[in-house]
C-alpha cells in the first residue's frame, strides 16, 4: 500500500515545490502530456483529429454549397471548379456532404461514447464498490452482453425501433459499455481497500461521496483511455449500420451512408467510394492511436 498516492501528502509536496522554486509540480497530467508529446503517432493523430473536428464544426458555415441540392444534369461528375470533389449520383456536391457527414458521424460517435462510458462507469463503480450480490448480478449481465454478437443485437433493436440518428446513437451506446464496466470495476476493487478510503469513511463520508469524490478521480485516466477507444468503435459501428441502410438515412449524409451506393457506381465513379472510406479509416485510426498513446502516457504499467 506504500505506493498509493495520498491526496493530502501530494498537496503538501506540491506546495513545497511551489515554495522552493519555479519548477512546476510534476502532476500526473503534466507528466502524461510530456510523454504524449514524445509519441509521434499519437501527436499526428491528435493534429488530424483537431483538423477534422474543426472542419466539422465550422466547415458547413464556410462552404456556401448546399449539401442537399440535387441536380440530375450534373450526376456523377468528377472534380470541377464548383464541385472540387465531384458530385454523387443525384448531382449533390460531394465535398459539402463529406463535411456535413463529418459533423453527423463525429456527433454520433461522441454521443454514443458518452452513453456507453457513463453506463460502463456506473455499472463498474457499483459492482466494484458494493461487491457481494450487486457485483455478481452486474458482472453476469456484463458477461452476457459481452458474449452477444453486437451487430445482431443492434440489428434487432433497429428492426424494432426503426433507424434514424437518435435511435442509432442510443443503440450503439447501449451495446458498447461492457469493456468500460470491467475496467472501472477492477479499479474500484483496487481503490476500495486503500487507506484514504478508510480515512474518508472514518470521518463519516457516505458511500456515494466516497465513490464520486475519492475513488472516481483515481479512475479518470482509465476512463479517458476507454472513452477515446470507444469513440473509434462507435464511429466504425455507425458507418457499418448506415452503410446497410439501417442507421443514418439519406438525404442526411453520414460517412457510412455515403458509401451505400458506392458499390453500384464503382465503375463509373470510384471517387465516391474512396473519399468517405478514407475519412472513416483515418479518423478511427487516429482515435485508436491517440487512445493507445494516452494509455502509455497515463499508465505505463498497462503498456503491452
Amino acid at each position: 500500500m506504500a505506493s498509493t498516492p495520498r491526496p493530502a501528502e501530494a498537496r503538501v509536496a506540491a506546495a513545497a515545490v511551489a515554495l522552493v522554486g519555479p519548477e512546476p509540480a510534476r502532476t500526473l497530467w503534466r507528466i502524461a502530456a510530456r510523454r504524449l508529446r514524445r509519441n509521434p503517432p499519437a501527436m499526428i493523430a491528435l493534429a488530424f483529429l483537431v483538423a477534422v473536428h474543426l472542419a466539422a464544426a465550422i466547415g458547413p458555415a464556410l462552404l456556401p454549397t448546399d449539401p442537399f441540392l440535387t441536380n440530375p444534369l450534373l450526376s456523377l461528375r468528377g472534380s470541377s471548379a464548383e464541385h472540387p470533389l465531384g458530385t454523387d449520383e443525384v448531382g449533390r456536391d460531394v465535398l459539402a456532404r463529406l463535411i456535413l457527414g463529418a459533423r453527423v458521424s463525429l456527433a454520433v460517435g461522441f454521443v454514443a461514447m458518452v452513453i456507453s462510458v457513463s453506463l460502463g462507469v456506473a455499472v463498474g463503480a457499483i459492482a466494484g464498490y458494493a461487491g457481494r450480490w450487486e457485483d455478481v448480478v452486474l458482472m453476469r449481465l456484463t458477461d452476457a452482453m459481452m458474449a452477444l454478437p453486437t451487430l445482431f443485437v443492434i440489428l434487432a433493436a433497429l428492426a424494432v425501433f426503426g433507424g434514424g440518428p437518435v435511435t442509432a446513437t442510443v443503440v450503439i451506446g447501449l451495446t458498447a459499455w461492457m469493456p468500460v464496466a470491467r475496467v472501472v470495476r477492477g479499479e474500484f476493487l483496487r481503490w476500495r481497500v486503500t487507506e484514504f478510503v478508510d480515512a474518508a469513511r472514518a470521518i463519516g463520508a457516505r458511500d456515494g461521496r466516497i465513490m464520486v469524490r475519492h475513488i472516481l478521480p483515481q479512475v479518470v485516466p482509465s476512463i479517458i483511455v476507454a472513452a477515446t477507444l470507444n469513440v473509434a468503435f462507435a464511429i466504425l459501428t455507425e458507418s457499418a449500420i448506415s452503410y446497410l441502410g439501417l442507421g443514418i438515412r439519406p438525404p442526411l449524409p453520414s460517412w457510412g451512408n455515403m458509401l451505400q451506393n458506392a458499390q453500384i457506381y464503382i465503375w463509373s465513379a470510384p471517387n465516391l467510394a474512396v473519399y468517405p472510406g478514407v475519412l472513416i479509416l483515418c479518423t478511427v485510426l487516429a482515435y485508436n492511436f491517440l487512445g493507445d498513446g494516452l494509455r502509455d502516457a497515463l499508465d505505463p504499467r498497462l503498456k503491452l
Partner: protein
C-alpha cells in the same frame, strides 16, 4: 469437472433466458408492434383475422410463455414474410455462416500467430513496427469498405476472384469452386479478429520470454530457436486460447456485414433482410440461435483451455 460443467450450463441457460426475454419484450412493446406489418392495403376484417391467426390478440404474458415453450423445441414460428418455418430457414443458413466463420478463424490463426511471434521476438524492430501498424489499420478499417476495395482490385480489375455467392451459378458443386468463393469474404471477416490475435500473441510471448525458465534454457546453451519453439511459444499459446472466446462473438457479428456485401447466404444476410422487412419471428429466432452458437463455442474454448493447461482445475 462435472460440477464446473453443470455450473457453466446453468449460467448459459440464464444468459439465454435473459437474451430471449429482452428480445421478446423489445419486439412486443415496440411502437407499432408486430402489427405494423399489416397496415398495407388491408381491410379492418383482414387485419383482425391476421391478428388472430398470428396470435397477437392474446395477452403479452401468454404470448411470452407460448413463445418460450415453442422456442425450447427449437420452434420459432413462421416468418412474417414468406410464411416459411423460421427454424427451417435457419437450419439452411447456419452451416454457411459456420463455414465462413471457420474459414476466417483459420486465416486469423494462421496469419495472426506467426505475425505475433515475429513481433514479440523482434520487439521494437522494423518488422514489429510494421506488424503493429497493420494491426492498427485492421482494427480501424470499416469492413464493408475493405470489402469494396478488395472487390475493386481482385474482381473488377484483375478478374481473379468471384465477389458474390457461394458458387458459380450453373456449375456443379466442387470444392475448388467453393474455396475460390470463400477467399474474399473470409479475408474481410478475418480483419475482425486478426489484429486482436496478433496483439495478444505478442504480449503473451513477450511475457514468457521474460520468465526465469527461458533464462535457464538459454543458460544451458540451448539455441535461441529451440528456446522459443520448445519452451516460450508453447506456453504463450495457452492464454491465446482464451482470447478466442472474445473473438468468436466478434466473428459472428462481423458476418452481418461480410455476408451482405458478398451475397453469402448465411445468418448475417438473413438478419439484415429480416430487419429491413421487420420480420419479428425471424429476428428473434436468429438472435437466440446466434446466442446459443456463441455460448456453446465459449464453453468449448473454456474446456480446451483446461485441457491444454494442466495447472487449471475446475473447482
Amino acid at each position: 469437472m462435472g460440477r464446473y460443467l453443470l455450473e457453466r450450463a446453468v449460467q448459459a441457460c440464464v444468459v439465454l433466458l435473459v437474451v430471449s426475454t429482452l428480445t421478446f419484450l423489445m419486439v412486443s412493446l415496440a411502437p407499432g408492434g408486430p402489427e405494423i406489418m399489416m397496415t398495407m392495403e388491408s381491410t379492418p376484417e383482414q387485419r383482425e383475422a391476421l391478428t388472430r391467426q398470428l396470435g397477437l390478440d392474446q395477452p403479452l404474458v401468454v404470448r411470452y410463455v407460448k413463445w418460450v415453450a415453442s422456442a425450447l423445441r427449437a420452434d420459432f414460428g413462421r416468418s412474417f414474410g414468406d410464411r416459411r418455418k423460421v427454424n427451417e430457414v435457419i437450419r439452411e443458413r447456419l452451416p454457411n455462416t459456420l463455414l465462413l466463420g471457420g474459414a476466417a478463424l483459420a486465416v486469423s490463426i494462421l496469419v495472426g500467430i506467426p505475425a505475433g511471434i515475429i513481433s514479440a521476438v523482434r520487439r521494437y524492430s522494423a518488422s514489429d513496427h510494421v506488424v503493429t501498424f497493420f494491426s492498427f489499420i485492421g482494427v480501424s478499417i470499416p469492413a464493408f469498405w475493405f470489402a469494396i476495395l478488395l472487390i475493386l482490385v481482385f474482381t473488377v480489375h484483375f478478374k481473379l476472384l468471384p465477389a458474390s455467392g457461394m458458387a458459380t451459378p450453373g456449375v456443379p458443386f466442387s470444392l475448388g469452386n467453393r474455396l475460390l468463393h470463400l477467399i474474399l469474404p473470409a479475408t474481410v471477416l478475418a480483419t475482425a479478429t486478426l489484429p486482436n490475435l496478433v496483439r495478444f500473441m505478442r504480449s503473451a510471448l513477450i511475457e514468457e520470454i521474460g520468465q526465469d525458465y527461458v533464462r535457464t534454457a538459454r543458460a544451458k546453451g540451448l539455441p535461441n530457436r529451440l528456446v522459443l519453439s520448445r519452451h516460450a511459444i508453447r506456453n504463450a499459446l495457452i492464454p491465446v486460447v482464451t482470447v478466442l472466446g472474445v473473438l468468436i462473438p466478434r466473428l459472428v457479428g462481423g458476418a452481418v456485414i461480410t455476408e451482405t456485401i458478398f451475397g453469402w447466404p448465411g445468418m448475417g444476410q438473413l438478419a439484415v433482410a429480416s430487419t429491413i422487412g421487420r420480420d419479428f419471428p425471424m429476428v428473434m429466432g436468429i438472435t437466440v440461435v446466434v446466442a446459443v452458437v456463441v455460448i456453446v463455442s465459449n464453453l468449448l474454448v473454456d474446456l480446451a483451455y483446461g485441457w491444454l493447461d494442466p495447472r487449471i482445475t475446475y473447482g
